[in-house]
Each structure stands twice: as structure tokens, then as C-alpha cells.
Amino acid sequence: MISSPYISQKTSVSIIMLKVMLALIPAIIAYVWYFGPAILISLTLASVTALGMEAAALKLRGLPIKPFLMDGSALVTAWLLALSIPSIAPWWLIVVGLFFAIIVAKHLYGGLGNNIFNPAMVGYAILIISFPVPMTQWASPDTLAGAHLGLIDAANYIFNGILPSHTSGIDAISTATPLDTLRTQLKLDHSVAQITQMPIFGAVGGQGSEIIAGLFLLGGVYMWLARIITWHIPVAFITALALISGVFYLINPAHYATPWLHLATGGAMLGAFFIATDPVSGATTPTGKLIFGAGIGILTYLIRTIGAYPDGVAFAVLLMNVAAPLIDQYTQPAVYGHKGNKS
């Protein structure tokens, strides 16, 4: 029998996921502008692969395929993973990543709503550990690249590994990321000030990538205004990352990069607004979200500066995912009538 309430808001998981994808579009446009159209190929490939895997997993689990496929969660995972790895990576890289994201991290854990870990970040972590070489060959900004890859060239490279004849080799189209550069150059005892004079760096972050980071932030603000996310996790993440990097920067500016460099590079903005805010695998209480976000910010910094990987967002998110249930348990807000009367 039906019981009250008999009305509901016109909203759905699909609408939420569509809005998340909408929020990513400005950054994707900038991506194409600065790094060429390869990202469009990897996004398309990721979308098709993710939907196929999702459908297969739903069929195996005996669930209705259409409503679950339409929820859009697989597409969001696909896009986030595609945006987290090099756009010119070989086709199988994203396929392997999505297998771990969709099949292992999501469906083996019980499907939508039951995954402990952020699926896209599981995919990313597996890839960076297993295939570090293709995972660090990022497309050069068009302003620096020795050769420009058009749509067909990019497809030919992604699917067949064949570069256009006019290019001299992989180095002509790819480069290390700003964080990677920072890391290697610091080991060579160069100062941060010297390093950031290198061409890969832009005004505050990386050449081109700083604009994309800004647009991720813009998309995040849109999601906040559209009430897709609350402010807690991004603000806590960004504040914690800025604070900890600021403290180290003040202690030794020659060896520690500026807070704005940390915020504008790597996965910081994508992570703060689109990945750490994944509700399924994150903390849910207001205080819990602050702790969760701050934890990711701090861990990201620690992994970047003293860890073995140039960026730390993915591992920071996964580590905090583990802590989310515990954080929630200890940050339950006071229920009405249990607060005592202060006024």
C-alpha cells in the first residue's frame, strides 16, 4: 500500500548526474583549446566502454538495465577517469581503468550507492601503479608542442600507436606535467623559483592547465548553486591544501611550491569539486564533510611533496574513503530536541 507523502520533487539521479557532466563541459572545451581534440576521443571511448560494462554488469546481476543505465553514474565515472589520465594515452589504458572502476570498484561492491571507494579513483590508482609510463605522457600544450595532433591523428595515435610522419617522436607531442616537472627538478636541487620559469608553467599553475583548473572551479560553483554539492568538502579540501602548502612555503620558499601552484595544478580542482564530493564514498554529515575534505587536502600535499607520485589526489581520496564511515559515526549532528536550549 502507498503511504504518505504522495508527492515528490521532480528530480532524479539522472538529472543530478547530467548536471555534473554539464559542469564539466567548460573545462573540456578549454582542454580541447589548449591540448587538442584528443580528449574528445578519450571521453567518447570512455563513455561507450563504461556504458557497455555497466550494461553487462547489470545483466549479470539480473537488474533492469534501462533505468540503471539511464542514471548516468557510469558516464560520470567514465568522464572523471578520462579527465584524470593523459588524453593521448593508448585506448586500452582507459578500458583497463574503467574495468576496475565500473566492474570491480562499483559492481563487485554492490553497484550504485554501495561502493566504498570512488570508482574513478580506483581505476586511476590501478593505472598509475601498473602503467606508470603511459600515465605520465601527457599531451603538451599546443603552444609548446612540436607538432599538433588533429582529430584523426589523435585517433590514429590512441588506437594504433602511430604518430603522423611529420612528428619526430612521442616527445614532440607529450610532456611531463607541472607537478612532475617540479618533482624531478627539485631533486636536481633547483629552486622553486627557477623551476617555475620553465615553459610548462603558466601564471599560477601549468600552461593551459591552470585555465582548465579555473573552469573546474567554475563548474564546481555551478554545482554548488544548483545544490548538487554542498560547499563543505571543496572548501575544506582547498583550505587545507592552501594552509599546509602555505606553511611549508613560508618556511622554505626555495624548496616548497606556492599554495596557488598546488591549487592550480594536478587534480586539485577536479578533485575538490568533482571527485571528493562523490556522495556515495564520502562523508555525509556537515562536520564529517569538513574533516573528509581537509583530510584529502592534507594527504594530497603530503603525497605530492614526500610521496612517490607527483600527484596525490587519487590516493588521498581513496584513503579518506576508508575513513568516511568512521568520520560519519563520530560527527552525527544533534537531533531536534537533543540539543538543550541555549536561547
Binding site: 504518505s4 515528490s8 533505468p67
Partner: protein
């Protein structure tokens, strides 16, 4: 504290008050204006009135009329039984045609005892005795309200006289009249305030006297400007200070706890009552009913209710208690779409009616006729993605996504730890859920399972107690018997002689009888 209003008297009416916020809340489409276009109409007297003896929270009233008896309008037909109970009255004059089980508007769909009265069409009143409340003390007034069948019309139908007994003097500083009416579609309180503002405040005067409340506040949502104006006008003509507080329209601000929070900033403690924070809350319709009961001698035999939704002419009616709902629905001139069901109450907290062959009761504030167009069947429920829109919407500050998880996995201990029983079932969580999960149904399930377990536990405890008592009794009896035997054994020598004497006497009697028999047998032969 909030004392600033108490002595400043009439200026206080225009004083702006700091309002507070409760967490969350939702803004469903109101649909209220459709039923406020026409004035309250008096519904005609039906041929048959089916009056349940239990329309209130507490003990059912006890019938005191018999089948075939003629009753007058306003006559008591069932007396209040025990403390938490009120009397029931004949809504019109006529003949009692049955005292039997009848289906009631209740989610269980169960039947209960109803007194059926066949109207004689005369609508002849019993003797009414208007009273000047100042001539009675609070206790006598309470008895009067009990006999007048006054229960809260806001939905809970709790006997009002009990709430008007503050126990400790000065416990209630504020009498809060609730004109929030936050549920969509319903407009009966709105219309009552528009048309009967003076009566409402006249009732408030009595309640204020009974509670010895310092302040009288009427809380009204800002989507009812006409009602606000009417109440403000009535307040200026009233000889005690009344403050009309306009609060933002936000469901469920008409919930007593939420309104108290909005107006006073205080939270009613969990498991406590509003009087714990010095506030007594009554629905505006109840205040009007109290005015009718005391100043006019009219018991609660009718109420104003909204008939709306899938009907051609939505409207408010003053309806006699016991009128079959179908009769009231018939007054709204048919349905634009095919009827898919009926709700008693609003779309957020109302109950689904199995049929409208049930009487209007004191709790019936609205009959909402459904169509698939107005109330489409809910879409397929998707898994919870822990987006916490429910927590953002919850006016009780709960974490509905956690409660759902615990209820679904039958983890009732955890659900209680997360304060399941502070859930007021307002439906905000289900309303905002993007996965369309019927969350409230899960909480109702968990609550009833916990209640069932506690009942089982109670009866198991009871059975164990009885068993243990029985064992103890058997043991005690055994011991007593043994003691008795032991006593007997000690007392034996004395009793033996007595026994012997008795035996001797018996033997002698037998001998005598034999001798008598011998002589008698010889005689006739």
C-alpha cells in the same frame, strides 16, 4: 528570554519579533488558492450520521444511549471513560439506529464502534447553556470541555482539556495558536481565520485564563495574507494582548515543534512536551471550538474541512461529524479526471483511504481526491546515493540516509541510536529524494517492528514473571502444607482422643439405628 512582550501591552502587537529557523523543510506547490475562492459552506445534514466513539487519542467514550432512542442535537451519546477521553455527541436530532462496528478513516482500515443516528430533519438542539468563563475555575472549565468533546483539530485529536492543565502554575508562559497550516492543498484553518477570527480569539481568551499564560501568539504562514489581516483586525478589537506572528511559508512549520522553534527559538526536548519550554500549542480551529463550547454551549459536533484535488469545485465546508465522506465529496460537483483514490489530510502526511464510505471525524481536516495527473504513481526507487538531500531537508535534524540504511537492514538498535523515534514522519526526506525511495515507509516499518519487539519483550517478561510467581506460589504452598502437616503431627495426641470420642458416638448412633430398624421391620410383618 522572550519576556519583552509581556507588559508592553498593545504596542506589542506591532512589535517585530526575532524569528528562528528549523533545519530543512520543503516548498511543495501549495494548491491552496483553489479552495479559498468561496466562503465556508454549511454541508447539508445527511440522512444517516455514523459517529465513532473513538475519534480522539485515548480511551473511547462509552455509549449511553440505546438503539431506537431519540436523541437531540448536541446531546451526549457516549460518556468520557477514564482520564484521557472526551464525550461524544449527537450531531443532529434523530433516532439511534445502530450501535455497531463501522469502517473508519484510519490507515489500518479497521472498524470500530460507531453510533448511527437516522436524522429526523428537525435538527432540534438539546438545551444549550452558555457560560461566562470568569464564573468558573480552571478545573470546572476543563470538565466542561471534556463533556463538550473538545479535541485538537490540528490532526492529533488529543483531548484539549488535558493540554489546558499546566499542572505547575506559571508553567506555560505562552499560548501559541497554530495557524501555520503548512500542508499543501488544505485551507480549512486559513478560511476559519478569515471568517471566524473573533471567535478564535474569544476561545484564546478562555485558554489564556485556564493556562494563566502571559502571552498569546498566533503563528501564521505568510502565504495567507487574508487570514493574517483578519486576525490582526480581530487582535486590535480584543481586550488582551495578542501577537500575530507572520512566519515564512516552509513545510512543516505548522508542526508544533517546528512552529515553537520558529517563534521562540526553543526546541521541545525529545520525548517531552511543548509545555517543557513554556508553550502550549493549539490549532486555531480548536480555539474556535472552545469558544463555541463555553460561550455558546455547543459541543464539538462539526468541523471545517477542505474538499479539494481532483474535484470541479474545491471548497471548505462546515460538516457534521459522522457525515459520510462521499456526501461531502458530492458537494464539489464531480471530478475532472478519473478518481485514483482519496487522502484524508494533506499530500505530505495524510492517510490513504480504502473507501469514502467512512464518516467525517474530528481529525478530518481535508479530503483530497486523487487523480493520476495530480498524484502520479511514484517512479521506480533507485539505490540511495547518500546525497543527503534528505538530511538537508529534515526538520528534526536527523540523518535519514543512515536511518534508511539501518531500517532496510533491520538494524533497529542502530536506528534507535540515531534517534529514529524523533522522526515526525513529515515526509520531507521522501519528497526530496532523487532516488524516489519511500523513506518514511521504511521508518514506519522500523518503528512498528521496534514497538512489536518491545511488546513481545514486555509480554515475555510478563509471562516469565507469572511463571516465576507461580513457581514461588507452588513452592510456598508446598512449604505451608508441610508446615501444616508438621503442626498436625505435633498436635496429634490431642486430636486422637477427640477423634475416638467422635467414633464412639458414631458407633453408638449406628447401633441405635440398627436396633430401631430391627424393631421397625418386625412391626409391619
Amino acid at each position: 528570554m522572550e519576556m519583552e512582550i509581556s507588559d508592553s501591552q498593545f504596542e506589542s502587537r506591532t512589535m517585530s519579533r526575532t524569528l528562528y529557523q528549523f533545519n530543512g523543510g520543503v516548498h511543495p506547490v501549495e494548491h491552496k488558492d483553489v479552495s479559498t475562492q468561496l466562503a465556508i459552506a454549511i454541508a447539508p445534514i445527511p440522512q444517516m450520521l455514523i459517529v465513532p466513539v473513538r475519534q480522539h487519542i485515548g480511551q473511547p467514550s462509552k455509549p449511553c444511549v440505546s438503539v431506537g432512542q431519540r436523541v437531540l442535537k448536541g446531546q451526549i451519546i457516549a460518556h468520557a471513560e477514564n482520564y484521557i477521553s472526551i464525550a461524544t455527541h449527537a450531531p443532529t436530532s434523530g433516532i439511534v439506529s445502530a450501535i455497531a462496528l463501522h469502517a473508519l478513516p484510519h490507515p489500518s482500515g479497521l472498524s470500530d464502534t460507531c453510533i448511527t443516528i437516522a436524522s429526523d430533519g428537525k435538527d432540534e438542539w438539546t438545551e444549550r447553556t452558555p457560560i461566562d468563563y470568569r464564573n468558573l475555575n480552571a478545573s470546572a472549565l476543563r470538565n466542561r470541555l471534556r463533556d463538550m468533546g473538545i479535541a485538537g483539530l490540528g490532526g492529533a485529536v488529543f483531548p484539549s482539556f488535558i493540554k489546558l492543565n499546566p499542572g505547575v502554575p506559571q508553567k506555560v508562559q505562552t499560548l501559541l495558536l497554530n495557524g501555520g497550516e503548512c500542508e499543501p492543498w488544505i485551507s480549512c484553518d486559513d478560511m476559519t481565520m478569515r471568517e471566524r477570527a473573533a471567535g478564535i480569539l474569544s476561545g484564546a481568551e478562555i485558554m489564556r485564563f485556564m493556562l494563566r499564560a502571559e502571552t498569546v501568539v498566533v503563528g501564521i504562514e505568510d502565504n495567507k495574507p487574508a487570514a493574517i489581516a483578519a486576525m490582526q483586525l480581530a487582535a486590535t478589537q480584543c481586550h488582551f494582548p495578542v501577537e500575530i506572528v507572520v512566519i515564512p511559508t516552509l513545510y512543516p512549520s505548522g508542526g508544533a515543534k517546528q512552529m515553537i522553534k520558529v517563534i521562540t527559538g526553543k526546541e521541545v526536548p525529545s520525548g517531552g512536551r511543548s509545555t517543557d519550554v513554556g508553550v502550549a500549542t493549539f490549532n486555531v480551529g480548536t480555539a474556535y471550538a472552545i469558544d463555541r463550547a463555553i460561550h455558546h454551549g455547543e459541543p464539538m459536533i462539526s468541523r471545517v474541512l477542505t474538499v479539494t484535488g481532483n474535484v470541479h469545485q474545491p471548497r471548505n465546508f462546515e460538516v457534521l461529524i459522522g457525515t459520510p465522506m462521499q456526501n461531502v465529496i458530492n458537494l464539489t460537483q464531480g471530478h475532472p479526471d478519473s478518481v485514483s483514490g482519496y487522502i484524508m489530510g494533506g499530500p505530505m502526511m495524510g492517510i490513504d483511504l480504502h473507501s469514502v464510505d467512512v464518516p467525517v471525524v474530528k481529525a478530518t481536516n481535508c479530503i483530497l481526491v486523487k487523480s493520476d495527473k495530480l498524484f502520479p504513481p511514484p517512479p521506480l526507487a533507485m539505490p540511495c546515493i547518500r546525497c543527503t538531500r534528505c538530511a538537508d531537508a529534515c526538520p528534526a535534524d536527523l540523518q535519514p540516509q543512515e536511518l534508511y540504511w539501518f531500517a532496510k537492514s533491520n538494524n533497529f538498535d542502530k536506528a534507535q541510536k540515531y534517534q529514529l523515534f524523533d522522526c515526525i514522519e513529515c515526509g520531507c526526506c521522501s519528497y526530496v529524494c532523487p532516488s524516489h525511495i519511500p523513506l518514511v515507509q521504511y521508518y514506519r516499518y522500523a518503528k512498528s517492528e521496534i514497538a512489536a519487539t518491545q511488546n513481545e519483550q514486555k509480554s515475555a517478561d510478563h509471562a516469565r514473571d507469572r511463571h516465576e510467581t507461580r513457581l514461588a506460589r507452588i513452592e510456598r504452598e508446598k512449604k505451608e502444607r508441610a508446615e501444616k502437616l508438621a503442626q498436625k503431627a505435633v498436635a496429634k495426641p490431642a486430636t486422637t482422643t477427640a477423634d475416638d470420642a467422635a467414633t464412639l458416638a458414631k458407633k453408638a448412633a449406628i447401633q441405635a439405628a440398627i436396633a430401631r430398624a430391627a424393631t421397625s421391620t418386625t412391626e409391619p410383618s
